[in-house]
Amino acid sequence: MTVFLQSLASGILIGGIYALIGIGMTLIMGVMGIINLAHGQLMMVGMYITYVLFAFLKIDPYISLLVSMPALFLVGVVIQRFLLNPLMKIEAILPENQVLMTVGIGMVLTEIARFIFSSDYKSTTTAFSSQVFFLGTISLNAPMVIAFVIAVALTLILFWFLLKTDLGRSIRATAQDKEAATLMGVNSGRITIITYALGAALVAAAGTVLLPIFYLFPDIGGPFTLKAFVITILGGLGSTVGAIFGGVTLGIAESLGATYFGMQYREMVGFVIFLLVLIFLPGGLKRLTKI
């Protein structure tokens, strides 16, 4: 029982961070109708920024959120403005050229990281790295708890932004009906740029808080891109609330899978869920509720 609760707890903690990763992907999916296959790679860039600040300037990873998020916001602006938006004007036979572009971007980001930092594993430590909380018999690793709290806080801020600000409302309107939103005077070009940048900043935040927990290497992005789209599918394409459920579900499933089937199957769990959702629950968790 303790083992179960222990894996459940760590599943929920990592799930909170997955949710943050998934929300960015979901926003982009909702507004632009594309899967961002550079998502994990953007997170990797955020992690390297955090790592550099730590290794050379001794800045605590949590403080470097203030750098990594704006930096990736800018990267996002550049990508959407100069690489993705121009594709809308190109008459191409292939329907998914924007998605293909994100694949290219992901590869380039990974290789640039490899070029600068080599393929070596990097890690950071914080003041809390080795601290552990106890909750009854369950032990909780401090960096995980902090990461979870930050992820939840950022998610709440995002929801406030989407629900209460004009810009946030425009984003939601565009996600619901692009044509209608454009007719109502929403500048959809600008909205897509902000959305992509926001998605990049959110996933950068996830990367930053994950850095004290995971080893960092250039190829870490790929698996996280895959996780992000499993979350997006699980949540029902384009649903932000769904993404939170999707993230937590994936976190718990991975954690339980690792405990009961063995570590090597951890990555497999996500794909099994993905397949099951496609077969039995197309439309994702959203189908089950009225979210």
Binding site: L83, P86, I93, L100, M101, G104, M107, E267
Partner: protein, 317 residues
């Protein structure tokens, strides 16, 4: 019409005579690989370019074909050449399963599922060591020491695949594939069972890709999960071959295969040894940049954008 036939005959003749004239193993090897990519690129193009169902994970079919041949030789002790037939069939079965799951749904599910399938299969091939030898990979004995048999087999496979794709595209199926790409609702209302014909396209595509995989196993005599299920060595390469040459054309992917093998080799050899060694490791970077460049500036490839390219060079000051 006449002129194109002459050109085709000339190219065919050149390819048949090539290994008899150029005795270098190295160049023969490159053309063998290019011919193999003609098959894969054409298969990808049938599904993505003509039918509009973009696969981001053709490695899953390639790897399935390769492993089928490898496992037949390694576990059952029969010749890996049987894999040429069985590899295509198993890959097609995998394709049918993916199609059955995804084509009932609308949305980007197929693109996602193909990537996921590639990753799942790579993980399976890595972990199921009793069947696949895991990370170590499968090694078999090469049947021939000379490259000639492999060369002509690859040439035959490439020609056969192009012949089949051309035949399909001139038939009812071809019209249906393009209709589905252009407008799925219109296609349905015109009596086209879109789910069925997407699966037909996928079936043909995965079958030929699986055969190419089995050929690779026989020819290279060694495979491991990271190569044959690789996202960028196989899946992205298939996309690049298709796009650079020209999607939705018969000759585009064939041309694309030779271009991409050329590009790949140029960088693998650090631009023929002229550039510093790190260039040879920048293969993935070059592929990534190439993907971005091609989509931005040459979305319809050399064949599709040929008028545009010609104008660029013929423009006088």
């Amino acid at each position: 019409m006449k002129r194109s036939r002459v050109i085709i005959a000339f190219i065919a003749l050149a390819l048949v005579l090539f290994p008899l004239v150029v005795k270098s193993d190295y160049y023969q090897h490159l053309v063998i690989l290019a011919l193999m990519w003609v098959v894969i690129g054409g298969s990808w193009n049938l599904l993505a370019g003509y039918t509009g169902q973009v696969s981001f994970g053709h490695a899953v079919f390639f790897g399935t074909g390769a492993y089928t041949a490898g496992i037949l030789a390694n576990k059952l002790g029969i010749s890996a050449w049987w894999g040429m037939a069985f590899g295509g069939i198993t890959a097609a079965l995998v394709g049918l399963f993916i199609g059955w799951v995804c084509f009932r749904l609308r949305g980007p599910y197929f693109a996602l599922a193909t990537i996921a399938a590639g990753e799942i299969f790579r993980l399976i091939a890595t972990t199921w060591e009793s069947l696949t030898e895991g990370m170590v990979g499968i090694m078999i004995l090469q049947t021939f020491r000379s490259k000639l048999p492999y060369y002509y087999l690859a040439l035959l496979l490439a020609a056969a695949s192009m012949f089949v794709f051309d035949l399909v595209m001139k038939s009812k199926w071809g019209f249906y594939f393009i209709s589905i790409r252009e407008d799925q609702d219109a296609a349905e209302s015109l009596g086209i069972n879109t789910t069925l014909y997407k699966n037909v396209s996928l079936l043909i595509s995965s079958f030929f890709t699986g055969m190419a995989g089995a050929f690779y196993m026989n020819y290279m005599a060694f495979i491991d999960p990271h190569v044959v299920f690789s996202l960028h060595y196989i899946s992205i390469m298939a996309i690049l071959v298709g796009i650079i040459g020209g999607v939705a054309t018969i000759w585009g992917p064939a041309l694309g295969a030779f271009i991409m093998i050329g590009v790949q080799e140029t960088f693998r050899s650090s631009i023929f040894g002229l550039a510093p060694r790190w260039v040879s490791q920048s293969h993935a970077l070059v592929f990534g940049l190439l993907v971005m460049f091609v989509i931005l500036y040459m979305a319809n490839g050399v064949v599709g954008d040929w008028p545009k390219i010609k104008r660029l060079f013929l423009r006088r000051p």
